[in-house]
Structure formats: structure tokens, C-alpha cells
């Protein structure tokens, strides 16, 4: 931590002073870099199955939640250390909290009407290719009937 030698202010006392960036030295950047690489590896593990197999291939939602948690951690590391937000004064909240809230609520607001619009249609299952192919047509009670009807035209 070579920066500590020429950092005259003790941690946390300055408020918007010119020395705030001295908190982040190259050693700390490299530590964050290492953490980011490990976390990227953690996300990639769900695909690569190495060194051990990802145990939740049959439950994709577990993988999604895991990857999003990893991504949020990575984003937090980048914002706090690389973008120096950890060492900024309180103005950071004014500029970051509202858009983050807007972002989250935008997605949440879209989920019930759009995100889940097809969830009930097939009882949560993926429709068969046959059903998909005939999706625009009214559902026929017997596949053979629909087929014969189609050939007549």
C-alpha cells in the first residue's frame, strides 16, 4: 500500500477534500481485479461445470438468481472502488439512488402484465412444436381433425 505513505489525512475525516482519492491505491485495484475475475469465473461455472459440476441444471431459476447476485456484487465492486464512490461525499446518493430505484421499479412494474403474460397459458410448460405450429389457429380437439380441415382448403 504505497499510497498510505503520502496520505496525510486519516481515513474518514476529510469531506470532499482533494485527498479523497488517496484511499484507493494500485494494490487495492489489483485486489478488486482479482475478485472480479473470481466472480466472473463463478458465473461461468454454471456453464462450464468445472472444476465440479454445477448442481442446478434442472432448476434454471437457481442459476439465474446466483448469476444476478454475482453480477450485483461485481457491479458494486466496480462502482465502489474503480469509480471511487466509496470515498465520495454524500452527493453520490442524490445521483445514484433515484436512477437505481427507477431501474428496479421499471422492471418490477413490467413483470405482472408482460413478463408473466404467458405463464398460465400452458400450465408453466413449454408448448410442443405441434402446438406452437398451430398457435394462431383455434385449438382443435383432435390434431387429426385440424389436419384434415387444413388439407381441404
Amino acid at each position: 500500500m504505497d499510497h498510505a505513505a503520502h496520505s496525510p489525512t486519516p481515513h474518514g475525516t476529510q469531506h470532499g477534500s482533494a485527498h479523497h482519492d488517496d484511499h484507493a491505491g494500485i494494490g487495492k485495484y489489483l485486489a478488486v481485479f482479482g475478485a472480479l475475475c473470481v466472480l466472473t469465473g463463478a458465473s461461468f461455472w454454471t456453464y462450464a461445470d468445472w472444476p465440479v459440476r454445477w448442481p442446478f441444471h434442472d432448476q434454471p431459476a437457481v442459476g439465474w438468481a446466483f448469476m444476478m447476485a454475482v453480477s450485483c456484487t461485481k457491479a458494486l465492486l466496480v462502482v465502489l472502488f474503480f469509480m471511487h464512490v466509496k470515498y465520495e461525499a454524500s452527493w453520490k446518493y442524490v445521483l445514484t439512488v433515484p436512477p437505481v430505484f427507477m431501474s428496479i421499479f421499471l422492471v418490477l412494474a413490467l413483470v405482472p402484465d408482460i413478463g408473466l403474460r404467458n405463464r398460465e397459458a400452458f400450465g408453466g410448460r413449454v408448448p410442443s412444436p405441434e402446438r406452437l405450429a398451430n398457435m394462431a389457429m383455434p385449438a382443435a380437439p383432435h390434431a387429426d381433425d385440424a389436419h384434415a380441415d387444413h388439407a381441404d382448403h
Binding site: 477534500s17 478488486v32 472480479l36 466472473t40 453480477s71 445521483l95 413478463g115 405450429a133
Partner: protein, 348 residues
């Protein structure tokens, strides 16, 4: 000298002039940061909402879709995506090192690390271009007229395959006897594909082409059902095997699954000039969201690279390290967006 300190001095000055004395207000005319940085943060907060809207739209479209293609069906390569993530993370480190050097008034070192950042950003764009090219080569475009993605194996798909084969043959028929050997072979392949398997290959067909006989025969058949058309789509562009749902402990996975759903070769791969319509359920919505998200992100990368080039020609030192800080903030944000895009697009 910081703005806070400047504001302090200003407040004292006011006190002295008016001399009210009762209220010692510490007047601070601005936030304790430089104007450029403030503006950049304001810009970034709009950018957060910009990308949140795009990513949010992707999320609701993806989870609201009946079907969504698996990454390998649309020729996405997870290792390439992971490599690009690594490249961007490295570039985030090099730009903070560049800032650190600038603050220590080491112009040469600052510019060196800035140049490394520029190089890494270019690598990212190069890989992205390679990936886009792989999509285009397989007929995956965000929209018509180039997109060759059909969503379901129905009569429209069959008709599109027939139309494409007719398009290939029409100019060759007009040419009559003037066709080259290659064109003659194209014609023969088109005929073989549509020939009834019962009739066997045309007399004089080279043995190598014989297996093509009747591969697309059913598209000529108005009674062809969904399963038959599905089989034809699979001949044109086979869908890869994905993760086996569960491999019992201690068993060795078979060869195909071990390769993680490597794309098997279809007619379009074997004969690239065919460019037959392909069938990917959910593929069109996937292409729209993929190209929109990665396209906007790539544009942001490109803008960052342009600024890097400009800054390389400036004088850099402790006095104007803020310039590198600001472009660095922007660059970290671009990295941050990719941190979310990579799992969402490649691993979900």
C-alpha cells in the same frame, strides 16, 4: 485546492462585508466536486436508466416468451463472452492505473496505461464483430429482409424453403448450357434435395452427393405435417444437444454432451451458398433483443475509444487528471453494463 475550501473562503468574505454576525452560515455554492465530474455523473445517472430500460425490456420479453432459444441454437459461444468480460475487466484496471499515474504527474506512464485500455477496448470490439459475423453467416439478423429465422415448422416455413430453392435455380435455368461446373453442381444439389427418396438419386450423381437425395422432399408435399417439417428444419440447421438434465454420479457423459452442445453441421453449414431459411422457435425476438442490447453497448465502447484517442494527444498531468477520471468513470460504467449483459445474454 478543493471547491469546499474555496467555498469556505467565499463565505468568510461575505460575512466580512455584511457583518450580521448572528447566523454563521457556511455558504457552499456547489457540490464538493468539479463541474465536469458532476455533469458526467448526471449523464451516468441517465445512462443507468437508459440501460435499465433496455435490460428490463429484455428480461420481461425473455421470461414472457413461450419459447426462448438456447444459446447454442443461436450460435452464441459462452467462452467467447467470458473472454470479452475478462478483457473489459482488465481495461477497467488499466484505466484506474492510468488515473493513478496521472495524479502522480507521470505523464508517460499514464498515457501508456491509457493506450493499453484503448487496445483492450479494441479487442473487445473486434471479438464482438467476430461474433456478429458468425450470426450473420447463419442468417441470424435482427429483422427482415435479411433475417432467415422462422419461428415454427409450418406451411410458411415450407414455402420459404421452396422459394429459396427456386431462387437459386431460376438464374441457372435461364443460363441453359452456359453454366459452370460449380453451378451445375448447385443445380444438382437443389434437385437431389427435393427428389423423392423412393426414386433414388438422379442417374450419374456423384457418390458423395447421393446422401442428399430426398432431404427436403417433404417441403414439396402439401400434406407434410409439423413433425416432418421439423425434421426438415433439423436437416437445414440441426439444434444442438444442451446440458443433459442430470448425469448420474460416476457415469462418464457421452461424447456429444461432453462437448457442450457443439453445433452439428446442417445443410446450411455444408453448403453455405444454400442459405435456406432456418427454424428457431423464439429466434426473432431473441435476435432483436440481442442486437439491440449488444449494439448499444458496443456503441458506448466505441465512443469511449474515440475519447481515449483524443486524450492520448493531450498533455496529461496532476493538474488535469480529472479528464482521465471522467473518461474512466464512463468506461467503468460501460464495463458495468457488460457485467450484467454477459450472464443475461450468454448464460441464462
Amino acid at each position: 485546492m478543493s471547491l469546499a475550501a474555496a467555498a469556505h473562503g467565499h463565505a468568510h468574505h461575505d460575512d466580512h462585508n455584511h457583518g450580521h454576525g448572528h447566523l454563521k452560515l457556511e455558504y457552499q455554492p456547489a457540490l464538493p466536486l468539479l463541474n465536469g465530474k458532476l455533469i458526467l455523473w448526471l449523464f451516468l445517472s441517465t445512462e443507468i436508466m437508459f440501460f435499465a430500460a433496455l435490460i428490463g425490456t429484455y428480461i420481461v420479453l425473455r421470461f414472457g416468451a413461450f419459447v426462448w432459444p438456447r444459446p447454442h441454437e443461436v450460435h452464441l459461444s459462452e467462452p467467447i463472452g467470458a473472454f470479452n468480460t475478462f478483457v473489459l475487466i482488465c481495461s477497467s484496471v488499466t484505466i484506474v492505473v492510468s488515473l493513478e499515474m496521472a495524479k502522480r504527474n507521470r505523464e508517460g506512464a499514464a498515457k501508456f496505461w491509457l493506450f493499453v485500455t484503448l487496445a483492450l477496448g479494441s479487442v473487445f470490439l473486434g471479438v464482438k464483430a467476430y461474433e456478429y459475423n458468425a450470426k450473420f453467416a447463419h442468417g441470424i439478423y435482427p429483422a427482415l429482409p435479411h433475417s432467415q429465422i422462422y419461428e415454427k415448422p409450418d406451411i410458411y416455413y415450407a414455402s420459404a424453403v421452396r422459394t429459396r430453392l427456386a431462387e437459386i435455380k431460376a438464374p441457372l435455368i435461364v443460363k441453359g448450357n452456359d453454366v459452370t461446373d460449380a453451378e451445375k453442381e448447385h443445380m444438382l444439389i437443389c434437385d437431389l434435395l427435393l427428389r423423392s427418396p423412393a426414386d433414388g438419386p438422379l442417374p450419374g450423381t456423384p457418390a458423395a452427393l447421393t446422401p442428399l437425395t430426398g432431404k427436403l422432399f417433404e417441403v414439396n408435399n402439401a400434406d407434410a405435417n409439423t413433425a416432418q417439417l421439423q425434421a426438415i428444419a433439423n436437416e437445414i440447421m440441426p439444434h444442438p444437444d444442451e446440458h443433459p438434465v442430470a448425469i448420474p454420479e460416476g457415469t462418464v457423459p457421452p461424447e456429444e454432451t461432453a462437448s457442450h452442445g457443439e453445433h452439428p453441421k446442417g445443410l446450411n453449414d455444408e453448403y453455405p451458398w444454400l442459405r435456406l431459411p432456418i427454424m428457431i422457435p423464439g429466434g426473432n425476438m431473441w435476435a432483436s433483443t440481442y442486437f439491440l442490447l449488444t449494439g448499444f453497448h458496443a456503441m458506448h465502447v466505441l465512443v469511449g475509444l474515440i475519447f481515449f484517442v483524443f486524450i492520448l494527444f493531450m498533455r496529461i498531468g496532476a493538474a488535469n487528471a480529472g479528464v482521465i477520471e471522467n473518461i474512466g468513470l464512463y468506461w467503468h460504467f460501460v464495463d458495468l453494463v457488460w457485467i450484467f449483459l454477459f450472464p443475461l445474454l450468454y448464460l441464462f
